[in-house]
Amino acid sequence: DQQVKQNSPSLSVQEGRISILNCDYTNSMFDYFLWYKKYPAEGPTFLISISSIKDKNEDGRFTVFLNKSAKHLSLHIVPSQPGDSAVYFCAASAKGQGAQKLVFGQGTRLTINP
């Protein structure tokens, strides 16, 4: 039972344009959502997060949007840069779980083309 789904295994975007990565979840108990970035041979690195009491959170070039009614979140990267090429994972945690147990999606490989 995949509670967090990233339905696009890969995405290719031109440098300077907007990258939009999508994530869907099924568990209504999730109340905190995070995006991680992973380069080969490295561990995932935290990018940005959002609580279920918000619908948007921005940090520099990165913005996460949360649509609770659709159980959908997205990560926008503007403008996209070559260094953004990596695998992106969305993750969720349930009420009361905090950092105790994250449920990850399968990941989306983002490639930024010059």
Partner: protein
């Protein structure tokens, strides 16, 4: 300031054998979590240790066990290895809510 350190980086084991993976948390962190990442999948939560006790566990069999030492470092043990245990094993440490720092992982191959 060193981040999360995992050892070894790679290892190859035979089916039925036992393996121990090690993790040193980031300085100041007291909680260690372990995740398994199979090829093409996202990380899956195995368990978490705090104050030398297993605080929470994911859907993994009892063949997977762990330990946390007084200096907060941790070990993950897997007994009776199966081919399906081949994966990247990630250790993550934290202190405050949602403050995970991941290590680079140990790549385990079971043949």
């Amino acid at each position: 300031d060193a981040g999360v350190t995992q050892s070894p980086t790679h290892l190859i084991k035979t089916r039925g054998q036992q393996v121990t993976l090690r993790c040193s948390p980031k300085s100041g962190h007291d909680t260690v979590s372990w995740y398994q990442q199979a090829l093409g999948q996202g990380p899956q939560f195995i368990f978490q240790y705090y104050e030398e006790e297993e605080r929470q566990r994911g859907n993994f069999p009892d063949r997977f066990s762990g330990h946390q030492f007084p200096n907060y470092s941790s070990e993950l043990n897997v007994n009776a290895l199966l081919l399906g245990d081949s994966a990247l094993y990630l250790c993550a440490s934290s202190l405050v809510r949602y403050g995970y720092t991941f290590g680079s992982g140990t790549r385990l191959t079971v043949v």
